[in-house]
């Protein structure tokens, strides 16, 4: 059964009077527990597609279903609720909250979005920090840890609400090669262990090989789908 289904999805932006087509009639399905990557040059539509699948934006035309929910029909509050319950995000620039410690950054979605008993909340956070190897740094602030460590924290934060889907837009772009591999490895491990679907965009050819399914975008169109060796 598909987790995500895109049917003729088109996204057009208006820059002044000029319409810019970012995505053209995309059709694809992504199943549960998948580890998927979108590749393509800058401006190919990767971020736009991830924004749509992340319920941060709506298609201009076509239908986008996640768990059979047509996300184009959700209002702002419903979209927020949907993101809180179904999705996790890992950003290129980590986007950790600077005034919160590592532990508090991971705790943040639980405090703001989900209500859990304090003990269950604490156990879940510590377990995830353990899994991503950041338990010893839990009391540090983001400016006291490295880029790779920040991205591990971001992965833990994305997973703390037990989402079905984690979207990562260029998660390794600001990391050195070795660290990038470690982060992808952690994501992969979480996918296997927790059954979470991971979708990430990248233009790093070495990272690309880590995906199970690889989609290639060019000028807003889906030009290739490849099942890699890992699948």
């Amino acid at each position: 059964m598909s987790l995500i289904e895109l049917k003729n999805v088109t996204k057009v932006y208006r820059t002044g009077e000029v319409p810019v087509t970012a995505l053209k009639e995309i059709n694809l399905e992504i199943g549960k527990r998948a580890f998927v990557s979108f590749i393509g040059p800058s401006g190919s539509g990767k971020t736009t597609l991830l924004n749509l699948m992340g319920v941060l934006d709506k298609p201009t035309e076509g239908k986008l279903l996640i768990n059979d929910v047509n996300i184009g029909l959700l209002d702002r509050a419903e979209a927020a609720e949907f993101r809180a319950n179904t999705l996790g995000f890992v950003f290129q620039n980590f986007n950790l909250i600077p005034v919160l410690t590592v532990y508090e950054n991971v705790e943040y979605p639980l405090l703001l979005v989900k209500r859990l008993p304090a003990k269950e909340r604490r156990d879940r956070i510590l377990s995830l920090l353990e899994k991503v190897g950041m338990i010893d740094h839990k009391d540090k602030y983001p400016n006291q840890i490295s880029g790779g460590q920040k991205q591990r924290v971001a992965v833990a934060r994305a997973l703390v609400t037990n989402p079905q889907l984690v979207l990562a837009d260029e998660p390794t772009a600001n990391l050195d090669h070795a660290t990038a591999f470690k982060v992808i490895a952690i994501m992969h491990e979480m996918q296997r262990e927790l059954g979470t679907t991971f979708i990430f965009s990248t233009h790093d050819p070495k990272i690309v090989g880590e995906a199970e399914i690889l989609y290639t975008l060019e000028d807003g169109a889906l030009v290739n789908q490849e099942i890699t060796k890992r699948n």
Binding site: A84, I97, Y108, V113
Partner: protein, 410 residues
């Protein structure tokens, strides 16, 4: 709520210098209100206390029309017989009334046999007057052994400037000449018992005599009272007691009026100006809080657009984002208010250690400022509400940001 507050405080201290500067400004506004309010309220309270405790009483009862023609001191609008008994009965039955004093007020000529001047006289029963205006004795120069007998029959208390003007001294005999309500002129010799300081400063011509002497001078068979001054147990209940007395006394048949001190003294205007000044200072505080919080919160929202995008992306509802920023403004206001109150109340405490003494008219005023709890609560509520109100627009802007645009903001 606790978590929102924790995050709000941390966000505020992300920019320490800016937060401390803004907080200091708001705290300064709070200090201004507390200290100025404390001094002004203390001055007003002391002045009102002096007026009501040494001259006017807290409220007065007259025949209808008396206050309108008070400058002429008419002797035909009087309370006698049954009407006076009813007034006294109502006052005795009212549990809020501590004491009352019937008075005859009239104008007379005072002569030292060589020179003559005019004087306004209050003829009183000294015991009742002392209980109604307990501060009156303090205005009398010299030693008073029995305050309940501060004036004796045959004696006159003369204001200082008349004493000087007529070259009189205590113990001198003078003649008082007055016209009664029938137009008959009479004169009696009296002795100057003491000098009384005027409550309203130079130019005061108010003297006191025993009511029995006034009856003789004005050829009255019984005391024809023109004014009943009333002293209340709790001055703060003035409005309520005034209403109660009006309900029980003022009927079309009774032909009576009840007036509070405010309706009788020109100082009420000064008291209103003091209140107005306090209000102006509060408006200054509101402006300071409004501009400061609006400024800091607007900057905060613009600096954290990417962060707003992040928290929106992870599923924070717009209403929650609104609450977060409102809480930040509230925390700023709360923090500043606490600092302002501590410093402001501390300054008042220090001023109480060394009270400020000065003369207002002829009154010696000793300012020992204190601010009522209600004012402190009001200032706190004002700052809190204005803080939230000022944060509303930036917070609303933050909550309305599209996460995809906010995340893409550089």
């Amino acid at each position: 709520m606790r978590n929102l507050m924790k995050i709000a405080v941390r966000n505020l201290f992300r920019y320490k210098r800016r937060t401390l500067l803004t907080s200091s400004l708001i705290a300064f506004g709070v200090i201004l209100v507390i200290v100025f309010g404390g001094l002004a309220i203390s001055f007003k309270t002391q002045m009102i206390g002096t007026l009501t405790n040494t001259a006017l009483g807290d409220l007065q009862i007259h025949r209808k029309g008396y206050v309108e023609s008070i400058d002429n001191q008419p002797l035909n609008l009087i309370l006698t017989g049954r009407r006076l008994s009813e007034v006294e009965g109502a006052l005795k039955q009212n549990p809020s009334v501590a004491a009352y004093s019937p008075r005859i007020k009239f104008g007379a000529m005072i002569s030292n046999y060589a020179q003559t001047s005019n004087i306004r006289l209050s003829a009183v029963y000294p015991e009742m007057e002392n209980k109604t205006c307990p501060g009156l004795v303090g205005r009398i120069k010299g030693t008073i052994t029995d305050p309940d007998q501060f004036i004796r029959p045959g004696e006159l208390l003369v204001p200082d400037n008349l004493m000087k003007g007529l070259g009189l001294k205590v113990g001198d005999e003078i003649v008082l000449v007055a016209t009664n309500k029938d137009g008959s002129v009479n004169g009696i010799p009296v002795r100057i018992g003491a000098v009384i300081e005027s409550v309203l400063g130079p130019g005061g011509k108010d003297g006191y005599m025993h009511i029995d002497d006034a009856k003789t001078l004005l050829r009255m068979d019984e005391a024809e009272i023109v004014e009943v001054a009333v002293h209340l147990k709790d001055f703060d209940r003035l409005g309520a007691v005034s209403l109660e007395l009006k309900k029980t006394m003022v009927t079309p048949e009774s032909d009576l009026e009840v007036h509070t001190w405010e309706q009788l003294s020109p100082f009420a205007s000064i008291a209103r100006i003091v209140d107005l000044l306090i209000l102006v200072v509060k408006f200054i505080l509101i402006s300071i809080v409004m501009v400061s919080i609006l400024n800091i919160m607007t900057m905060s929202v613009y600096e954290r657009i990417g962060e707003i995008g992040t928290i929106a992306a992870i599923g924070t509802r717009p209403s929650r984002i609104l609450s977060m920023f409102l809480m930040e403004g509230f925390a700023m206001g709360l923090m500043s208010t606490v600092v302002g109150l501590v410093v402001g109340l501390g300054l008042l405490w220090l001023m109480n250690l060394a009270p400020i003494d000065f003369t207002f008219g002829m009154m010696q005023v000793s300012l020992a400022p204190r601010i009522p709890e209600g004012e402190v609560i009001l200032v706190t509520v004002i700052v809190m509400l204005v803080s939230i109100f000022a944060s509303l627009q930036p917070a609303y802007k933050a909550s309305k940001m599209e996460p995809v645009d906010a995340l893409g903001h550089v």
